[in-house]
């Protein structure tokens, strides 16, 4: 008889097999694992392109193509599992975005034709024929702005809405409000079509389970499949009633939401699932072992961003028994996992220690940790009440969102401040009185222009996203959407739109190097520096003079001071930007996984960085910021550049502390996390790694196909990353050894 442990082991092995197969099908990909399974033999989608632009847009275009991709999905049922459903393909693959093009699609001439006119800055996902923005492009290019125009999915559903109604209830709600708002029938028809596609997806799973049951002769697996069948039959229309059903419902919804717009935002898992857990335990139909298995299964199906623990609006600890079970479940499957543990001084201390224990034990980059106090107090500064601020949860790489209410576009809008710096520096070149002070003034002037043009792009996007990329699946679980017949981009309660700066350390260290070597020590002149930048450091000595200046995160260094000044300037200008219709901008520091791409747009910089080299990662320091690479120094530096309005400047750290998962190890890592948070840090994406293993995997990824690293906010299988990106992760890691 197969035990839960046997089955989990089998599921994990299948996952590793899938990871290897996916790499063969997709090529290297510097993205989240997403939980997808490989494309099946003969998989084919014929997209319906409704624009002469060559792409598809709007309610009809999105709904029709959502149905086509969903309907092409074969059911996925593994008898070892208790839950079923997986996704393989997503709409964005067909929409002309160079960031999402798996190798298997490169064989399609139509796709490649569409892709031909797309660039890394401008995809074809936006309907430029109807909503052009050519007037914004020169400055967007000048400052290397990731515009957010064409973005999607960077918001969070309120799962309670779906859990309460079920897919049948959602259909009734659509019908009810379509009758009230007949002029919005395009919206409602598209939403209805979307729900029916999800139900058909469930139906195919039901058929598949029935087929498997015919030949299954292991009694425990047969029983499990029968339970799976019952759960699927119940949730195809009804609201989920049991713990098993709520997990299965979530699995189906998440598959659909991923296919539509790659949405990876989960929910506060422990508190939202607790009533189901408690009811089933009382009813005697669930025990802790089964609950853990179901959660592990859900985590396997998709590495959505779930959050656990934390405090409520009254600062009361929300940790419950399920919080513990979720950690144990994640440990039992131990794969790519985006669990975030909320940390607050009132929270259960044993729970925090247990979370740290798993980080040390598994060395697989989970969980990560966020700071309830700094995040909610910061978010309240945007004029939001404490209750709402405390509902804001970690649902993306660096970002938070109030489920059901907020339209934050978080992590989709970035300004490459290193590029802005380059423009300012070039402008100062022929001025008579060159100084770091003057350079800062110019940087700020250009920053204002960059922010203004970014804001225009954001407004264009929000004004028209509904007509381009309506959030068909996410709309089902947002407030006001179905009631008003509006896409969430039109009717959110909160438009606190995140704008992240990328390249902080490059700019801070450049200012620091100029102040140290040119202004204070006079080892170099301004002309020396300009010449060196123009010829991309032909003279290595000049490069080293600049590069060896004290760096950001060294601790009380000249560049540390610059990083703080730059942050003040960044925050002030973002917050001063006027926005219409109750929208406001929220500053953060984050580059996501695009440091290579952003770096390729920036020439040589005075910190000794050569032209085209990657910019610094998020709020992290540049390599070799201290000879000891001290994590506490990095932590202090990053805590000092928090923007303070509820969005993050994450501490991304990887190191091999040579510690065991014992009391001493837990105490030290716990102290490190709390030390960062006590100084205002917001989010820690942490990799405790095994030096030998990661170096081996970098040489030969196939040796460790199960090695997971937290790349930025997301986790990925190391073996799936491109060689260049693997090297970046390894370099960051070696810094912390």
């Amino acid at each position: 008889m197969l035990s839960y442990a046997d089955r989990l082991n089998s599921m994990r092995k299948t996952k590793i097999k899938h990871t290897i197969e996916k790499r063969k099908q997709n090529g290297y990909t510097d993205l989240d694992d997403f939980g997808t399974v490989p494309i099946s033999e003969g998989y084919e989608v014929e997209p319906w392109y409704n624009s002469s632009n060559g792409s598809f847009y709007g309610y009809d275009g999105m709904a029709e193509n959502f149905c086509r991709v969903m309907d092409a999905h074969e059911p996925y049922v593994d008898p070892m599992e208790m839950l079923c459903g997986r996704w393989r393909d997503m709409l964005v693959n067909y929409r002309g975005d160079v960031h999402y093009l798996p190798d298997w699609l490169k064989k399609k001439p139509k796709i490649m034709e569409l892709m031909a006119s797309a660039t890394d800055q401008w995809s074809k996902r936006w309907d430029e024929q109807r909503f052009p923005y050519d007037e914004l492009k020169p400055l967007q290019e000048k400052y290397n702005i990731q515009t957010g125009i064409d973005s999607d999915a960077h918001l969070a559903c309120d799962y309670r809405i779906g859990f309460e109604l079920g897919f049948g209830g959602l259909l009734e709600k659509i019908e009810k409000f379509r009758n009230k708002n007949p002029e919005k029938s395009d919206f409602y028809n598209a939403e209805e079509k979307t729900v029916y596609a999800i139900i058909r997806f469930i139906d195919r799973h039901i058929e598949k389970i029935k087929e498997l049951l015919k030949t299954e002769d292991r009694p425990e697996i047969k029983e499990s499949l029968e339970n799976m069948l019952t759960a699927c039959e119940n949730v195809r229309l009804n609201p989920p009633k049991t713990f098993h059903e709520v997990c299965q419902w979530t699995a189906f919804f998440n598959c659909a939401s991923r296919v539509c717009t790659r949405d990876g935002a989960g929910f506060q898992m422990d508190t939202i699932l607790y009533p189901y857990y408690e009811r089933d335990i009382k009813a005697g139909i669930l025990d802790d072992e089964k609950a853990k298995f179901l959660i592990a299964n859900l985590l396997l199906i998709d590495p959505h961003y779930y959050q656990i623990s934390g405090v409520d609006e009254n600062d009361k600890d929300m940790t419950n028994h399920l919080s513990y079970l979720i950690l144990e479940a994640a440990d039992s499957i131990n794969i790519a996992c985006n669990l975030t543990v909320r940390v607050h001084e009132n929270c259960d201390k044993e729970f925090f220690k247990k979370a740290v224990y798993y980080l040390l034990k598994n060395k697989n980059g989970w969980p990560r940790f966020c700071n309830d106090k700094a995040l909610s107090e910061g978010y309240m500064k945007n004029g939001v009440d404490k209750k709402t601020a405390r509902e804001r949860i970690a649902v993306g790489c660096n970002w938070m969102c109030v489920p059901g209410k907020e339209f934050p576009m978080n992590d989709t809008v970035k300004i490459n401040v290193a590029k802005v710096f380059e423009v300012a520096l070039n402008e100062m070149r022929n001025e008579e009185n060159r100084s770091t002070q003057r350079l800062l003034e110019l940087w700020e002037e250009h920053l204002k222009l960059a922010i203004d043009i970014t804001a225009k792009g954001i407004n264009l996007h929000i004004d028209h996203q509904a007509e381009v990329t309506p959030e068909l699946v996410m709309n089902l679980m947002m407030e006001n959407t179905l009631e008003l017949g509006e896409d969430i981009s039109k009717c959110a309660s909160l438009y606190t739109v995140g704008v992240d700066g990328a390249g902080l350390a490059v700019v801070a260290d450049s200012f620091g190097a100029l102040e140290t070597r040119v202004e204070n020590e006079k080892v170099l002149t301004w002309d020396d520096v300009y010449d060196a930048l123009r010829n991309n450091f032909e003279d290595e000595r000049t490069r080293l003079i600049l590069n060896s200046s004290p760096k950001y995160c060294e601790g009380n260094s000249v560049s540390d001071k610059w990083a703080k000044r730059l942050t003040e300037c960044w925050v002030r200008n973002i917050k001063n930007q006027k926005m219409p219709k109750g929208r406001c901008l929220v500053p953060g520091w984050f580059s996501w996984a695009r440091t290579i791409e952003y770096g390729s747009k920036v020439g040589a910089t005075p910190n000794g960085r050569r032209a085209g080299e990657p910019i610094s990662h998020g709020a992290n320091p540049n390599p070799h910021f201290r000879t000891d690479g001290a994590p506490t120094a990095q932590s202090n530096g990053i805590a000092s550049v928090q923007c303070g309005y509820g969005n993050t400047a994450p501490l991304q750290i990887e190191f091999d502390p040579g510690l065991s998962a014992d009391e001493k190890g837990i105490e030290i890592i716990g102290r490190f996390i709390k030390g960062h948070f006590s100084q205002g840090g917001t989010l820690i994406n942490i990799n405790i790694l095994d030096k030998e293993k990661i170096l081996e995997a970098n040489e030969n990824p196939d040796l460790h196909p199960d090695l997971v690293v937290r790349v930025t906010g997301f986790t990925a299988y190391f073996a799936s990353l491109s060689p260049r990106f693997r090297q970046l992760v390894v370099d960051r890691f070696l810094e912390g050894v």
């Binding site: 224990y357 080293l544 001290a630 506490t632 932590s635 502390p657 001493k664």
Partner: protein
């Protein structure tokens, strides 16, 4: 304030005592252990460490080296200046983390070390010292939260041969330190080529009730690169195997329970 000669300040030090610590390496040591892993901390003078593999051949050594090919080891600092580095990590120290004054032999710069410890204690920072115990100063030692001290070889002749000094005074200082009731972590670097007589060292240490732990540290050759950089004669020793270390484990002991261990002795996390 007297100035100390500081070789390095290492933050997030996780293996020099409890908790997260900042280790301050002072320059200068009256011992000259042939296996020393911090050979740059033996001389009491500033030294140039040379890493020719980093040289870019610019020919401008006299104008300053920026490539890392020539690095000055040793910086004159006041205790206040060092303290300003230490205090940066106070948010991580909690009750048991803090500062470890190391070297070299920190007591060779007694006045400076005393000032630094005084400053840290005034600011409620846990203070430890790594010392050879070649010196003893009751006033300074009394302020420490714990001391890590080596007894490297039992036989005095061998001790003189490999470290350059007699261990007689070291043994006496162990006894004096024990009488101050400061927790002591005693240690021996394990050099398989030498008959260190661990049984006798262990027995001796067991007679001292404040030796809370006796650790055996396997010799590692990390000091060799630095010896090369300092152009010093290199003596290589055999690296003890894991089996050999396991065999010797019988001589090591732990007497103490940390506060955390005591609180959590019955707890498991799996």
């Amino acid at each position: 304030m007297v100035k100390g000669l500081v070789a390095d300040i290492q933050r997030t030090s996780l293996h020099d005592g409890d908790g997260i610590r900042t280790t301050v390496f002072l320059k200068g040591c009256p011992l000259s252990c042939l296996w020393c892993h911090n050979p740059e901390c033996i001389s009491f003078e500033k030294e140039i460490m040379e890493y020719p593999e980093k040289c870019i051949g610019c020919g401008k050594c006299s104008e300053g080296c920026y490539s890392g090919a020539k690095v000055v080891c040793g910086k004159e600092m006041t205790a206040q200046e060092v303290f300003e580095q230490i205090i940066l990590d106070k948010p991580y120290f909690a009750d048991n983390g803090g500062v470890t004054v190391s070297g070299g032999e920190p007591m060779a710069q007694k006045e400076f070390a005393g000032e630094l410890i005084e400053l840290c204690k005034k600011n409620n920072i846990n203070c430890a010292m790594e010392t050879s115990l070649i010196y003893f100063d009751e006033e300074i030692f009394k302020k420490l939260d714990f001391v890590m001290a080596d007894l490297k070889i039992w036989n005095d002749d061998l001790h003189k041969k490999y470290t350059g000094v007699s261990n007689k005074i070291i043994k006496e200082n162990f006894e004096s330190l024990n009488s101050l009731r400061i927790p002591i972590i005693a240690r021996t670097p394990i050099i398989p080529d030498i008959d260190q007589e661990l049984d006798k060292i262990s027995e001796f240490l067991k007679t001292l009730e404040n030796v809370k732990e006796y650790e055996l540290l396997p010799y590692h050759p990390l000091g060799i690169a630095k010896q090369k950089a300092l152009k010093k004669d290199i003596t290589e020793f055999e690296i003890p195997s894991a089996e050999y270390m396991k065999e010797l484990k019988k001589y090591a002991f732990i007497r103490r329970q940390t506060k955390l261990d005591a609180q959590n002795k019955d707890k498991t996390y799996h």
